[in-house]
Symmetry: C2
Subunit: 335 residues, 2 copies
């Protein structure tokens, strides 16, 4: 019963899954954020905490991981920011040390550290090649071709990019609310946005937000937290919020098509897909807004057609943490 571990080291939470080649998933545990920006030690602490909990739970469920070499076959850790930081080796060594100290010796070579977008892709498409669109506070499209080439579009952060992200949607909503109040919009359609924004931030007038924003009391994540408000109003037919989501969807579809164009533009014959190109998505903002999702799907398919490629958008097969398990060698049949 070789054991595999998948870890999703995200910017807002960390999750660990323990999987057995015969039994499937044995246990799962979640914990605090794991962004590398908070330092390697902090990240390792979060990872260790969720690993320890998951191992304890597996034992409590009567399926303890044996404390001997080879019991844990492989670990895959997907971590936010791993793409741009030379953190792979220290993280592999840190996780190896942590597991070793608790009686589960695993060599660092069996501990794969990849970017969070890599596990998101693997989870969304069950390990198959294709493209994933990730829309949370930030936004990025990432793909892997059948010939194993990869390409990332956007993911440049709240100021330089992340076009169509939760932050972008929240920012557009804030700006639209002020524009509506000023009378700066040509469409005189009434919108519940001003009331929804003031209610969300628990203020009685928009102008109270001004010092809150410029004194730094409203942060990037607080602005992204407005996106469910926009999604809800859009679902109820609010034209201003529908326009905000339409613009976000446009940008998100562009990111996906940039990846599709790069990976499937037929540089090698083997890269030319016979069937449609598999596309999926991850992230709370797109998963929780059917309106945004439908707009994105429609735009991806339409833009693809104009480029002469067929894209087929499917709901994600698995979450990113399961993608990590797949990259650690788990078999999709047991999930």
């Amino acid at each position: 019963m070789p054991v595999r571990i998948g870890i999703d080291g995200g910017g807002t939470s960390t999750r660990s899954l323990i999987y057995d080649d015969e039994e499937g998933i044995l246990a799962e545990a979640g914990g605090p954020a794991c962004a590398l920006s908070g330092g390697l030690e902090r990240a390792l602490q979060s990872i260790g905490q969720t690993l320890e909990q998951a191992l304890t739970k597996a034992a409590e469920h009567g399926r303890p991981v044996p404390a001997r070499p080879g019991a844990i076959d492989a670990v895959c850790l997907g971590i936010s920011g791993a793409a741009s930081l030379p953190a792979g080796q220290p993280l592999s060594e840190g996780v190896s040390r942590f597991l070793g100290e608790r009686g589960y010796p695993v060599s660092p070579e069996r501990i794969l550290v990849v970017s969070d977008i890599e596990i998101a892709l693997a989870g969304a498409l069950g390990g198959a090649p294709g493209v994933v669109l990730i829309v949370g506070t930030g936004a990025v499209a990432y793909g892997r071709s059948p010939g194993n080439r990869t390409f990332r579009a956007d993911g440049w952060g709240w100021l330089l990019g992340d076009a169509g992200s939760g932050y972008d949607i929240g920012r557009a909503a804030l700006r639209a609310a002020f524009a509506i109040q000023d009378g700066r919009r040509e469409d005189k359609t009434s919108s519940g946005l001003v009331a929804a924004v003031t209610a969300h931030f628990q203020v009685s007038a928009l102008s109270q937000l001004v010092p809150m924003v410029y004194e730094g009391r409203i942060k990037v994540s607080d602005i992204a937290a407005l996106s469910p408000v926009v999604a809800e109003l859009a679902a109820a037919g609010d034209p201003v919020c529908l326009a905000i989501l339409d613009e976000a969807a446009e940008a998100l579809a562009q990111s996906v098509l940039a990846v599709v164009s790069r990976l499937y533009s037929g540089e090698g014959e083997g890269e030319r897909p016979t069937g449609p190109i598999p596309v999926s998505y991850q992230g709370g903002v797109i998963r929780h807004s059917p309106v945004l999702r439908e707009l994105v799907v429609r735009k991806i398919e339409a833009k693809g057609e104009r480029l002469g490629v067929r894209c087929r958008v499917k709901p994600p097969a698995y979450e990113p943490v399961v993608g990590a398990l797949l990259l650690a060698g788990a078999s999709p049949e047991k999930l």
Copy 2:
């Protein structure tokens, strides 16, 4: 020879003008920024410095201001942020004390403190009612009706508004450069923007900007400083930069029309203009980009027509500091 003083207390520089009812402008002096956000003391220091210099220059030019009560008839200080801060009285008293200590007694009642947008309007339209559009790092439209009602649209700062500002133009340029590099733009038109942005920030690749931005080494004013680069490329026909300026112009025209609608929608019969509504502009971003200016003018006139009002956009008559002089009682004939 009653003397009047106009002061423009701006966020990037301070200017003082000394004027004599018979001779016209006697002297002028400039100094460092005067934003109230830096504290009242700092603002008063900048103001004092430019006042002292201007008074010295006037004396050097053989036209000293007599050190006796009544020699200085009135002072008008337009200061950034004065609209939202209760700083009027302490500023009046501070300037009065400063002048008194140097032998020029002026009672605080003769020292008018107004917002920077008020002196910009007075300067742009030579003291007449109408609307001014101010486009610098930020953007705001402000107007005064013949019946003395006022209205401000936008000016909500870089995150919540300032639609069409230098910051907005620079931010759009940064985002467009990353999108072009990713292949996220549908128009495959080549653009000199990526090269211009990297040259402007003296980096060899766009990706080097990522840590600079998120570690806070690139600030709001640095982003606004990209707008002349965009203006130059647009003037040379670059389609991406033209599109950025077009979107900025659209937002700026909306702000102007919001003010026009509010002030001239015929609430009182006396407010209904017989001739066209006078509109002008101030600020480095619009003054230094003929392309932006032409787009804004065209859009204001077209949008006005759709609303059934005639707007006539004229170049600014005077700078804001001269607007302060006019509000201090100077006669336009002597300027």
